[in-house]
Amino acid sequence: MLLTKTIRSTTFKLALASIAVFGTIVVAFLSYVYISTLTYVQSEFDRAITVERRLLEGSFQHEGRPGVIAEIQRYLSDNAFADRIYLLTDASFHVLAGNLKSWPTEFSAAPAEAPKFEEWSGGENQPPARISLGTLPNGDRLILGRRIGSIDALRENNRNALIATFVFLFLLTAGASVAVTRRTIGRIESINATSRGIMESDLKKRIPLRGTNDEWDQVAGNLNSMLDRIERLMGELRQATDNVAHDLRTPLTRIRGRLEIAYSQLHDNDCRRELIGDTIADLDVVLRVFTSLTRISQIETNIQRSAFRTVNLFEVAGRAVELYEAAAEERGVRLRLVGDMTLSVMGDPDLLFDAISNLLDNAIKHGRNAGEVMIGTANANGRHTIYVADNGPGIPAKEYSDVLKRFYRLERSRHTPGNGLGLSLVAAVANIHGARIEMSDNAPGLRVQLSFPTSASVPHLTPRTKSELAKEEEQELR
């Protein structure tokens, strides 16, 4: 899905990182502003409170306790001082004047000489306050303070603003990153998809350019150049293969021709006849290898996907079984055909049949005598598959990828007939169909499976039963 690709991409992470850094700076700045504002406001309050304390201390000096009480009462009667706190008590905390009911219990410890500032919760149902606690020279205790509802409100506002900014930035970061990245990913995806399409089906197509000459166009342009080169190389290879075919085949025909003539001219009891007969047989082996090689080359360089048709895997398996039935019987090998009869893929029917026949041939040849070879079709998560499994000695797992190479023979098979090309042909066929070859231990034995991509798997058409297939064949014979 495009969204998951977007989130996983490097561009997204970069965008996210850069916006996050920017956002962090903004938040830090705002926090700094907030904190310094708060600190300033607070210190202003404290200063004002201290000024008041000095005034009241002055009153005490001139008029003693009554003077202080009178000042406090004057303050309290003025509405302008509504958010202020005043409390005068004697040394035993009996209230003398002020707008607090009692000395706050949180601060019962004897205040020190120098007045101290404290944060106070404010008492019952009252807003919090900042208070200064001090002692007058006669032992009376004096509290001066301010309700800091306003500061609190300021704090709250600022905090909310900060949180809002933070959330907004987060959304902006995420949103902007996704938006910016989507365009990039979209462009990359289109290049990726086109490339995949080209490699799978048609080497002649090219990735379209937007004409903006930006970095994406340059990437596309370079990819197109590479495709040009690949196409050219494959053309040259095909040409070379064709040339080899022609250049070698004519003299080979002549060689064989001469040998045949010599063979026919000798009498049966002439010992040279056997010599020539054997030479012809060996030459035929060489020619078979030669044919297989050129065939494999042709398959590899000739991705004629346009010639692909719907091929029913089960039918291919059935035809292969039918062909090798007799040979299997000779070795006492039992052939079993199983699986889903509806699975089809887009492909070349002849090449697929060839590949499956090869696998079946191998399984019969290298499986156990009097053993069983199973050939079947299955749907594995949308990938249509066809497999051949025997219960012979199998292949060591580390040789799985080697056996697909041309001319590779297992040590123990070196002296059995075969040229080691069968599996490389299967590999070439699998390759042009975009199919995977999966080899595994059949415990015992070897299991080889061709797994076709979901894009090539054709959704099933009306399944034909075995009896329908047999009837069709009968009609064919008529």
């Binding site: 022609h246 002549r254 021709g257 039918e322 062909l323 007799a326 000779e330 002849d350 041939d361 064949e473």
Partner: protein, 231 residues
């Protein structure tokens, strides 16, 4: 077609030694051979003379053998054509057959194979396959009911075995190569390394010839098989 042309073959091949090898091999089979080594020469002869069969090498010096064939066909030449070519891939074979060829032989080939195919093609031009009942010796095949019997006793054959026997019977007296069998009975054009054909023929042989007065299916060493009744 008059009797003299029944065995006259035009061999179109630019390599002189291969041409003479082919010519020699076919003359020993009783054919009369004419050679052409260029496309233009081939066209001249092909249009002027009636042949039993024409073999064409695709890689001629002046044009593609297929073009020669197409030109001949366009001018009403219905002679069977055997295309001989170094280009052996299936799409090339299909191209050749679609362009009007009747059979396709890939170089290098065995002359026995070539002879067998030529014999089959020549014979095809003179018989029309319409019978529903085929007989060879004491063997009878009913193509409608899909039954086989020898001396009146029925023989049970699987569909593919029936098809194989039918092809052998239709080619009775002629040598049929393994590749020809693969082609006509299984519609396959590649050469499996296992001897599956031999095994199959063996099976059919056991059913058809086992316990009978005389064998009908004979092995021809180095080439293939031949079905014929003794006479």
């Amino acid at each position: 077609m008059d009797s003299s042309s029944r065995r006259r073959i035009l061999v179109i091949e630019d390599d002189t030694e291969t041409a003479s090898q082919i010519a020699n091999s076919l003359s020993t089979q009783g054919y009369e051979i004419e050679l052409a080594s260029t496309g233009t020469d081939a066209l001249e002869r092909g249009l002027a003379t009636d042949y039993a069969l024409i073999t064409i090498d695709r890689m001629l010096p002046d044009m593609d053998g297929l073009s020669v064939m197409q030109l001949l066909r366009n001018n009403g030449v219905t002679t069977p054509v055997l295309i001989i070519s170094a280009l052996g891939e299936i799409d090339e074979r299909v191209r050749g057959l679609r362009a009007g060829g009747d059979d396709y032989l890939v170089k290098p080939f065995s002359f026995a194979e070539m002879a067998a195919r030529i014999e089959a093609l020549c014979r095809r031009s003179s018989t029309i396959i319409k019978e529903t009942l085929l007989r060879v010796g004491d063997l009878e095949m009913d193509l409608v009911s899909r039954t086989v019997s020898r001396r009146g006793q029925s023989i049970i054959l699987l569909p593919r075995e029936f098809k194989l026997l039918e092809y052998l019977v239709r080619s009775q007296g002629q040598v049929v190569s393994r590749t020809m069998l693969l082609q006509h009975v299984w519609e396959l054009h590649y050469d499996p390394t296992t001897n599956i054909i031999d095994v199959y023929v063996g099976r059919v042989r056991r059913k058809v010839d086992g316990d009978q007065n005389y064998p009908l299916i004979h092995t021809v060493r180095g080439v293939g098989y031949c079905l014929r009744a003794p006479n």
